[in-house]
Amino acid sequence: MRTKRTTMVIAIVLSAGLALAACSSDSADTTAAPVETEAAVAETEAAAVETEAAAVETEAAAAETEAAAAETAAAAAGGDLTKLAADCTTEGQVNLIALPDEWANYKGILQSFRDKYPGVKNPVANPDASSKDEMEAVKTLAGQKDQPDNVDVSPAIAQEMVAAGMFEPYTPTSAGDVPASLKDPAGNWVGSYYGIMAFLVNTKIVPNAPKTFADLLKPEYKGLVALNGDPRESGAAFAAVMAASIANGGSADDILPGVKFFADLKKSGNLGGTDVTKATMVAGETPISIDWSYNLPGIKADMETAGFTTALAYPTDGVYGGFYAQGVVKGSPHQACGKLWMEHILSDEGALGYLGGGAIPARFEALVAAGKVTEEAKVNLPPAELISKIAFLTPAQITAAKDVLAKEWGPQVADA
């Protein structure tokens, strides 16, 4: 009892300090508001046109209208971009997190940002962090100057962050080119790129690469299969389990067969148990990695230096595509830069950067229509017929899948 009261006294005394800190951050927010409202007004115009053609694979004509509308909107909001850039140069830095160099060519995208806006730093904390880690970092580092300004998370985590009010809604100027399935209706996040699940195979260690999920169970692959993390935390692992589920009689509504597949894989000893990172790939520890297809081009050079050859196999029995959501963090230290980064990844430079890495940029159709995509830029892309099969999960499906994973992944796979 006495301890509780003492704790309360301490709490009261120290709350004064908190209140002081809170007061100062409030004023920073109000100055950011005017810039936003103008951008938002420009966006509603583009959005009105866009709602009429909202599928992932739109006709070229519809894409053209979108592009045209977006261009006028962009022109109207163009002045804002210059102001945003100026504000950002004053801030000097955008705190990023969990963007590995070899992931969808983030190395190139980070560099092109620095080239476009000299004087603005873009340090990346904890590149191997999972989406869950990103959310935790935003929470734990709240009020600190190293809190991430921008996150790049799986749709499942984006859902949680929206529910917790962790995003600062912002609609970038080129968001008009982005299909509705790739952006949040309230403007909390935008999915700037997407890809397909594939097997990244080290063909020196595994000359006979698996072609389907069923293949993975073969005894010759004992100890060689690996996931990119834990599906309860990482978007890539979540997608892998979903893809496995589709290959084993499940569907976007039912992830349980996928969990069971990995339980079998673990029981037979085929599931290696090490999480995939660039390090494990290059060391040959994870010769068969179930990961996004756009994660291979970035490490190819290092693999070859280590003496390995690589191959990409798209499993024919389980085609699954997913995107990552990027958004500005509410109350983060560098708001203008956070928004500028959003602008950059959706800009032509950003989109072409993703393309080079083998991911499909959200504005792909618009870029193609504008003739900005060369044949050689498309070399790392997955086959078009697979891209056409992609259907992103709805929020309800994501929630259902998360619940199943929370309940079943531990006992059936992780701790088995």
């Binding site: 908190l18 002081l20 904890n126 734990t140 260690i205 660039k278 040959g284």
Partner: protein, 295 residues
Amino acid sequence: MAAMSSETTVNNRMNLLGRFGRLGPILVVVATALFFVLPLLAMARFAFQSVPMISLGWSTLFKRWSFEGVTKAFKDEEFRTALGLSLRLAAGTVALTLALLVPTTLWVHVRIPKARTFVEFLTVLPYVIPPIALVAGILPLKPHARWFLNSNYSLIPFYAVLALPFTFRSLDAGVKALDVKTLVDASRSLGAGWGTTIRRVIVPNIRSAIVSASFLTAAVVLGEYAIARTLLKRTLPAFMQQYQGREPQGGMALALAALVGTTALFALLSVLTRPRRAREVDEPATTTVTRQAMA
């Protein structure tokens, strides 16, 4: 033979047993020595040879050895930041610990000797609350003390708590070896105040205890992971864990440097604090303190 005393016979018999019985103990020592050295060798091979284990064989055994991994790691900016932070935290923790415990230990010995067991008990408490439980308790307090816990230096008092068993034991042993009461009385009667007494009379005499307490504290701080990871502070161990994912060889090299470095530091400490007087215990300070601290 028969003329020898029974005692010698006993000794001979025991020596005979001893000679065959020596094999067992020797095997144990050799086996454990191997056990402790092999991991370090494995680390060195991984860190300094760029040949993946799959391709390692007799033909490739001597190829592609280089220090590239280490140099790259040491040049990494984040490494320097993390190292700097950890070193500053270590220095701060040592300072806080000494400032708190030297006067306290002295006070206990001089004024309230009966409280020694109570204070010993207090210094065992940190064992009962392991770091992960401690940080679990810190998290709910975050909203109340945000201005404090946001700072990296808020780790210092918690690290001082974790190191408390070692530091108290070390200083306690050091002070116990002196005839503190006499020293203090003599100093005070010659007109010195408490500050001067501590500074010029006591501290020089417990120098080895202070040094070993400092080294042990530094070791605790440089290796602490649970609290730093949960509060997302970018200390050296947290950095090493992340870095390994990106640069496997560099990360391993850093870890090897950490292990070898700690061992070297402790070896240095053992040499520095080797007892010079006959009546002191015949073992280096780290051993004494670690042994006594585990209580």
